[in-house]
């Protein structure tokens, strides 16, 4: 129903609207800030049930509510983080989670040095407690922040314990059964984009 490209843009609108203080915004204003033609914004928003008001614009609060419903943000979800290195710790302290109705209920590591220490309010636990925490808190999402060598192993462990979705920050392609959702957050790809943009720019400069 929603075109793939539209969904991607709806995510941008969501973030923009989250930071918006005005009561109404026009497609013109949204497009301006995100570098998207206003016609495109209107087309995208027309897929939603909420309709804007001619001459007034879109009611920020109502629009946000519908986007929250669409993306499932209205439902609370419990999360655990595997790997208490810099990246795992960064995510554990990430202030944005609360806005998305996500609660981090545990952080794990296999390094004896780290176990028992604290990251924010959470005590780093041994992987031996993984099963218990998942069952007890009804955890649905596992975040993998371990080196890529152990990513698959951790993924298997999460799947075995009934995790529904995996957010994988290790730069490797992990294999999971079809019914488990995997989202790869690969920083390397961002790097390629950046290097490519620099490259394009410098070769354009040479031509001129």
């Amino acid at each position: 129903m929603f075109p793939k490209a539209t969904l991607e843009r709806l995510k941008l609108y969501h973030r923009l609207l989250s930071e918006e203080s005005k009561e109404y915004v026009s497609s013109e204003e949204i497009g301006e800030k995100l570098n998207i033609p206003p016609e495109q914004v209107r087309k995208d928003l027309s897929y939603l049930e909420y309709k804007g008001k001619p001459k007034v614009g879109y009611h920020v609060k109502s629009l946000l509510e519908e986007l929250n419903r669409l993306f499932g943000i209205d439902k609370k979800v419990k999360v655990i983080i595997i790997g208490a290195g810099n990246l795992g710790s960064a995510l554990a302290n990430y202030p944005g989670f609360a806005n998305y109705n996500i609660e981090i209920v545990g952080i794990f590591d296999k390094d004896q040095e780290k176990i028992g220490k604290k990251v924010g309010d959470l005590v780093i636990l041994s992987l031996d407690f993984l099963e218990r925490v998942i069952k007890r808190f009804n955890v649905e999402i596992g975040v993998i922040c371990v080196p890529k060598e152990s990513a698959q192993e951790v993924a298997d462990l999460l799947v075995k314990n009934g995790i529904k979705a995996i957010w994988n920050f290790a730069p490797t392609f992990i294999k999971v059964p079809n019914e488990v959702i995997v989202r790869n957050e690969d920083i390397s790809l961002g790097l390629l984009t950046l290097k490519h943009m620099l490259e394009v720019k410098s070769s354009q400069a040479k031509e001129a």
Copy 2:
């Protein structure tokens, strides 16, 4: 010349091939691992100058070389990181940078507590040294890892000192002059995708 979608997939091929140990791979094998139809893989690769060999496949090394050239990975680039929190530290220690011919030559923070401490091999410096480091090492890329409240301020400072590209990890839309490249690495968007996938799945389950 390259369709946008093709470029995105070429990045995936790049990573896959970097991990490939065989001498030749077929479009079938690449497609299999990335869940992309082999016709699509061939079409994408046909935009490159390097041609595969019928019956044999694509020569991994040659293909990687051409992709490296395309993305600018064959050129070394110097990078600084602003913000030595968990995320900045994670990036400073990120093992992938070396593969991309990127060298981190400095990490900065404004917190007096952190200045002078080490992150990997780097000593955390005061922002007062920013200009000197950029000039001395000919730094082209700045990575923003500060809280979103100070992201714009840091961006302005980087621009003022002649940085060509900014990799922004703060979840906010920063404004820079047209000639400066910005890449937003927004973890929030990944979260939205994940929540949406969970939501779609659970509503499908209800229907069945």
